[in-house]
């Protein structure tokens, strides 16, 4: 067999990366359910559509140009490019990725799923009032202009944050901080839903919590691919010790955060809710993402407990300041991602020892630089793109469409027809 690559493909590693890529793709419908169950009946389809459209648009964008910008030859550590990577024309299927023993196409697919889910996460802040056309154009631009460079900084071998030594195992910075901050910026640009304008306590209740719980379950499941698949960056063959560690910390943090969210909610509001436990799961998963392959399972329990409490608090803060981040993309993904990225510098033990293990704050400092860079870059980028798209078509549907619901007004569909016959 003729081979264009220097190393032989390892079937075990490739199997794991194929599975991981599929798992991360599944997170997108999982997110659609998680978000879709929480909105009002009249907006369930449009909310799910945000995730599905991301699969379509970024699915094409990543193959066409996204991968090229994120992982092409580096231009000063800032952005990548390689003519041969445009539309993957130059990627022979026999070629492996660097010295990794997996086909480059598999690596491209794995990374592409991250690029898909990140804008889909943002959409949670914008549900129930965002214009579909604007969303579509926004995410295509955002994935190209904001996400791809950021991924390059953090994950490409020549990216400036990577070279600095910032740790982001599976995307706490690139995915969650970027998505959370962008969500906040766009929520501010969009303004609150009509029922929340000036009214204290509008009655906006979730249409279908069982779907939200199902979505949380699929997210947890898929996240094992997200995190343990990210071991591809640090071990060969993949599906080894680091993958195992990332799997274990993912499980530990999700369980601990579910528990701590439940308990803090019980203490604060008097009842433990099912939406609470689902939210806790996601908060824990987010927080452990940057740390997954770097900390011990016991540390992950601690990180999980903290993330449940802190993200719960962030949601309450949102209620107070009155930003209408519909489904708490910022409070969960932004804040959870920040927490995880920072605490990675404290709790990490492999391959470098963090503050706790070594007393040395160097790694913590690096993490702060990474966090800051991601916040500023995604915040400014999103603001600029958001303003641009708003100018072109308006970010928001008309008041009448919002009132009637986006499902019927944008899609000409209703989520359910459950009346008799």
């Amino acid at each position: 067999m003729e081979s264009t690559s220097s190393v032989a493909i390892d079937a075990g590693s490739t199997a794991w990366m194929l599975v991981s890529s599929a798992l991360v793709l599944l997170m997108v419908p999982g997110l659609a359910l998680f978000y879709g169950g929480m909105v009002r009946r009249k907006n369930i389809l449009s909310t799910m559509m945000h995730s599905f459209v991301a699969m379509a648009v970024i699915g094409v964008q990543w193959i066409s140009i996204g991968y090229c910008l994120a992982f092409g030859s580096s231009w000063h550590g800032v952005v990548g490019f390689d003519p041969s990577l445009v539309a993957l024309q130059g990627v022979d299927h026999l070629k492996t990725y660097g010295d990794k023993r997996i086909p480059e196409l598999v690596f491209i697919m794995f990374q592409g799923k991250f690029a898909i889910i990140t804008p889909a996460l943002i959409s949670g802040a914008l549900a129930e009032r965002l214009r579909l056309r604007s969303y579509l154009v926004f995410i295509a631009l955002w994935a190209t202009v904001v996400y791809a460079p950021l991924a390059h900084w953090v994950w490409a071998a020549d990216g400036w944050l990577f070279k600095l030594g910032v740790l982001d195992f599976a995307g706490g910075t690139v995915v969650h901080i970027a998505a959370g901050v962008s969500a906040l910026v766009l929520a501010l640009l969009l303004g609150p839903r009509r029922e929340l304008r000036g009214r204290a306590a509008a009655v906006l209740l979730p249409n279908n919590l069982p779907l939200t719980l199902t979505g949380a379950g699929l997210l947890w499941f898929g996240w094992f691919g997200f995190n343990a698949g990210s071991a591809v960056a640090v071990e060969t063959p993949v599906a080894g010790a680091v993958a195992g560690l990332a799997f274990a910390t993912t499980q530990a943090a999700a369980a601990a955060a579910a528990l701590s969210w439940m308990l803090v909610e019980r203490w604060h509001s008097g009842k433990a809710t099912t939406l609470g436990i689902a939210s806790g799961i996601v908060a824990g998963l987010v927080a452990v993402t940057p740390a997954a392959g770097h900390i011990s399972p016991a540390a992950a329990l601690v990180l999980g407990v903290l993330s449940g409490v802190v993200c719960y608090g962030a949601v309450q803060w949102k209620h107070r300041v009155g930003v209408d981040d519909t489904l708490d993309a910022f409070a969960v993904h932004g804040v959870g991602g920040l927490l995880g990225a920072v605490l990675t510098g404290v709790l990490c033990v492999t391959p470098v020892a963090g503050l706790l293990a070594s007393g040395d704050p160097t790694q913590l400092g690096k993490q702060l630089v990474g966090v800051l860079a991601a916040v500023v870059w995604s915040g400014l980028g999103t603001f600029a793109l958001g303003k641009l798209v708003d100018k072109l078509w308006g970010l928001r549907v008309s008041d009448q469409q919002e009132r009637d619901g986006l499902d019927i007004s944008t899609h000409g569909e209703r989520g359910y027809h459950l009346e008799q016959a």
């Binding site: 306590a201 009655v203 906006l204 209740l205 979730p206 909610e265 604060h268 509001s269 009842k271 809710t273 939406l275 609470g276 939210s279 719960y312 949601v315 309450q316 209620h319 708490d328």
Partner: protein
């Protein structure tokens, strides 16, 4: 002929049906129509939580029972509903509901075309 409309707690429907069965007919052939409504009254809806935020719905789920009866049955029907709908073991509680009585001018049984008291 009268149309009796009762708004009761959903969980009392079974009890009301049992009382009605006793009064209106021995053989489970009493007739009624039921639908789900939401009511606003003295009783407030139960608080629901959404990520730590308490939401008190303006409306409470209720069940509406509609029964067309001949005049001589009006009182015992009302009494049966009251018996079935009052909260268990209690002298009644806020939210137990209301009964409305309206005039009914004509009834038609679709199957046979019969009209009036015989059709009810």
């Amino acid at each position: 002929m009268k149309l009796i409309v009762a708004i009761v707690r959903p969980e009392r429907l079974d009890a009301v049906q049992e009382e009605l069965q006793r009064v209106l007919d021995e053989e489970d052939r009493y007739r009624l129509t039921v639908d789900s409504v939401e009511g606003h009254g003295a009783q407030a809806g139960e608080v629901e939580l959404f990520r730590g935020r308490a939401i008190r719905p303006r409306l409470v789920p209720r069940t509406r029972i509609t029964i067309a009866v001949n005049d001589s049955y009006v009182d015992r029907t009302i009494d049966a509903i009251v018996r079935g709908a009052r909260t268990e073991g209690a002298a009644g509680a806020v939210g137990d509901g209301k009964i409305f009585v309206q005039p009914l001018e004509e009834v038609v049984r679709i199957r046979t075309g019969e009209r009036g008291e015989r059709a009810i």
